[in-house]
């Protein structure tokens, strides 16, 4: 399918592999990939390690160019990549390090329902969710915003839509950064992006985005699970989506505007998709302002879908969502760039951390965590695939020492979309999922085939690497019961 990576990968320890900076001219730091012996073989099958080396060429990069165990070939940056740059040392911001789907992320809602309550109604529930939550190509949302409202939404994020009735105050507290990035500049967002976003807030999208109903299959950490409100046998809802057309357009606009900027600042890049600008430059500031606005849109998007999911549950189970205990456990971003403080070589520095298919994983005691989670660490939500498992973890201390507070974001693809469709020939993925206890509805004709379980790595392996590295700790394993896809 694609070219294999044939460059160096030196084993550091049981879970880390190094690409030395001597590998290619221009690398400023080593690359470091988190993987075990099984995963590293899959990782070498595409060019993603080459992308880790390319990112190591970015000006101002600090520590290592990092990749999580769910790494796979992306564009510019690999998916699963983490790179921190120091703005005070000429560090850059790269839209390719965030991705087109700005603040694509995951949220988890717990319920008081048990599998016994939900299983008999699963078909009706999934059908109702499929009807209630707009998904698929070109689907508009139920809520439309005018330009003035969009401007406020991009400044305020989740809070704006919660105040309009699409959610609860506690949703804001349980969202990363309270569902808002400060410093958003909606005035730096193009009219095109406004237009694309105006009708898409509260829509799931397509591709790997999903809304899944799950059951808590296993508890690994009773105390943390109790704090998170998770019990074995309880029903949960996971939503994976991002900033929709608005975010794609912000990325598109800025990649175009930044096309000639590396030359202006004398930056030599190994891949066009890595275009960037110093964080402390007019171009860098403009992208950051627009990216933050798109990130806030994404939080509002997932917030509205939370409201819609609650409506669907309420309808099927005949009780208000409050009485079903449908509280938001947490919401994490996994395509984002944030300025965060870290200790580097004994000095406190503000770094621009790019997480492209990587989740923040702050440890217990971190000041950014909500009070209720400060004792256990930040919840990290790691979706697996449609038939196996997803995980809830909590961030651990090693994340601050090794990965700029970052963890994996999913299982990671290992099969291309084409290969997945070819592998589905003569099979009904929908039927196979049903036989494995998962009722699936999808809008796109090839959605289930492309996203079939075999297309992904085993999330158990991926999560195991980060658990073993003390980057994050397993709390609960969730098994899918039903899913809707675009």
């Amino acid at each position: 399918m694609t070219d294999r990576y044939t460059g160096p990968l030196e084993r550091v320890d049981a879970t880390r592999w190094r690409i030395p900076k001597s590998y290619k001219p221009g690398m400023r730091v080593d690359g470091l990939i988190y993987a075990n012996e099984v995963l590293i073989e899959a990782i070498k099958q595409d060019k993603s390690p080459e992308q880790v080396a390319n990112v190591a060429c970015l000006p101002g990069i600090v520590g290592h160019s990092l990749a999580m165990p769910d790494i796979h070939w992306g564009y510019g940056f690999c998916i699963g990549g983490v790179a921190a740059t120091d703005p005070a040392a000429g560090g850059v911001i790269s839209p390719g390090g965030v991705g087109y789907d700005i603040n694509c992320g995951v949220r988890l809602i717990r319920t008081d329902l048990t599998i016994d309550d939900a299983e008999p109604k699963m078909t009706r529930l999934i059908d109702k969710l499929f009807e209630t939550v707009p998904c698929g190509v070109g689907k508009s949302g139920r809520v439309k915003f005018d330009k003035k409202q969009m401007h406020r939404l991009m400044e305020e994020g989740s809070r704006f839509v919660v105040e309009k009735g699409y959610g609860w105050q506690s949703d804001i507290e349980n969202t990363e950064g309270h569902g808002k990035l400060d410093g958003a500049r909606p005035d730096q967002v193009s009219q095109r992006a406004y237009d694309r976003g105006a009708t898409q807030c509260g829509t799931l999208g397509s591709g790997n985005h999903f809304l899944e109903v799950q059951v808590v299959e296993q508890i690994d950490d009773e105390q943390a699970a109790s704090v998170l409100g998770l019990e074995k046998g309880a029903i949960t809802v996971m939503i994976h989506s991002g900033s929709r057309g608005l975010g794609y357009q912000v990325c598109e606009d800025n990649l175009k505007e930044l096309r000639d900027v590396p030359r202006k600042y004398g930056i030599d890049l190994p891949d066009k998709q890595l275009v960037c600008a110093p964080v402390h430059s007019p171009e860098g500031a403009k992208y950051l302002g627009a990216m933050r606005a798109a990130a806030n849109f994404a939080w509002a998007n997932r917030q509205i879908m939370t409201h819609l999911a609650r409506e669907a549950f309420s309808d099927v189970f005949g009780k208000p969502a409050e009485r079903l205990g449908m509280h938001l456990v947490y919401d994490v971003a996994h395509n984002i760039a944030k300025v965060e403080p870290y200790d580097v070589e004994g000095e406190r520095r503000s770094l621009c951390v790019h997480r492209k298919g990587a989740t923040r994983a702050f440890p217990p005691g971190h000041e950014e965590l909500p009070d209720r989670y400060r004792s256990i660490g930040q919840p990290v939500l790691v979706p697996g695939d449609m038939a196996r498992f997803s995980y809830v973890l909590v961030g651990q201390a090693a994340s601050m020492e090794q990965t700029f507070g970052s963890c994996c974001h999913g299982a990671g693809r290992m099969m291309s979309r084409g290969a997945a469709i070819r592998a589905s020939k003569g099979r009904s993925i929908r039927k196979e999922l049903l036989e494995r206890g998962v009722y699936a509805r999808a809008r796109g004709r090839t959605g289930l085939e492309e996203e079939q379980p075999d297309a992904y790595k085993d999330v158990v392996e991926v999560v195991g690497v980060l658990h073993e590295s003390h980057i994050s700790q397993k709390v609960a394993k969730l098994r899918p019961l039903g899913v809707i896809k675009g």
Binding site: M1, T2, D46, S48, H72, W73, G74, Y75, G76, I79, G99, Y100, D101, G136, V137, G138, R192, D195, R196, G205, S206, G207, N208, G245, Y248, Q249, C251, E252, L255, K256, R259, D271, K272, Q273, V275, R413, M414, M415, S416, R417, G418, A419, I421, R422, S424, K425, R443, G444, R445, T446, G447, E449, E450, G486
Partner: protein, 188 residues
């Protein structure tokens, strides 16, 4: 459609190379369209016929397109057809309008990408797809084209997946035996 356009003969030709799926190993399609397009003012009928082909290639999470043509300007049409192939079986409806493209730059591949990004925006935001194309000029410095865009017939169309963007990743145009080859990767 403008009154002038309604008076002039306009040969609507449903494009070939649309339909199928990424799975099809033989997703290489020949396309020979772009003929019968009106100038922007509807004053004259311009005929342009250029053969080309496209095929899709695998990328871990995304999908790539390779377009081939004998001439550089002949790449634009098959490259566009590759984009629609990835989105789905996108059927044109009745209402059509025309749009001129005048792109300037220093890199032909960048300009082709910009053109494709415009087509993606037209589809996403206005539900319009390309039906005819006249490429007046395409070289290292400019891409001038007139495109006929028709409203998509949602009832007759089948969508496979949402395309987020036309990326710059491994974007290229190169000379190959017999003509030119363009490669681009779509973010899914």
């Amino acid at each position: 459609m403008s009154a002038a356009a309604q008076r002039a003969p306009f040969s609507f030709a449903p494009p070939t190379g649309v339909g199928g799926s990424v799975s099809n190993a033989a997703s290489r399609r020949r396309c020979a369209r772009g003929d019968g397009l009106l100038s922007a003012e509807g004053r004259a009928v311009i005929n342009q016929r250029m053969d080309g082909s496209f095929e899709l290639f695998d990328h871990t999470a995304d999908v790539g397109v390779i377009a081939r043509a004998a001439e550089l300007r002949g790449l634009v049409w098959p490259a566009a057809m590759g984009l629609y192939e990835v989105i789905g079986d996108v059927q044109a409806g009745g209402e059509t309008n025309q749009r001129e493209f005048h792109l300037a730059g220093e890199d032909a591949a960048d300009m082709l990408r910009d053109f494709l990004a415009e087509l993606l925006f037209e589809f996403e935001q206005h539900k319009r797809r390309l039906t005819h194309l006249y490429v007046e000029a395409f070289d290292e410095h400019r891409l001038d084209a007139i495109a006929s865009l028709a409203i998509v017939d949602d009832q007759r169309s089948t969508y496979y997946r949402e395309v987020k963007a036309v990326t710059y990743h491994e974007l290229s145009i190169k000379q190959v035996p017999g003509g030119y080859e363009a490669r681009y990767i779509l973010d899914i």
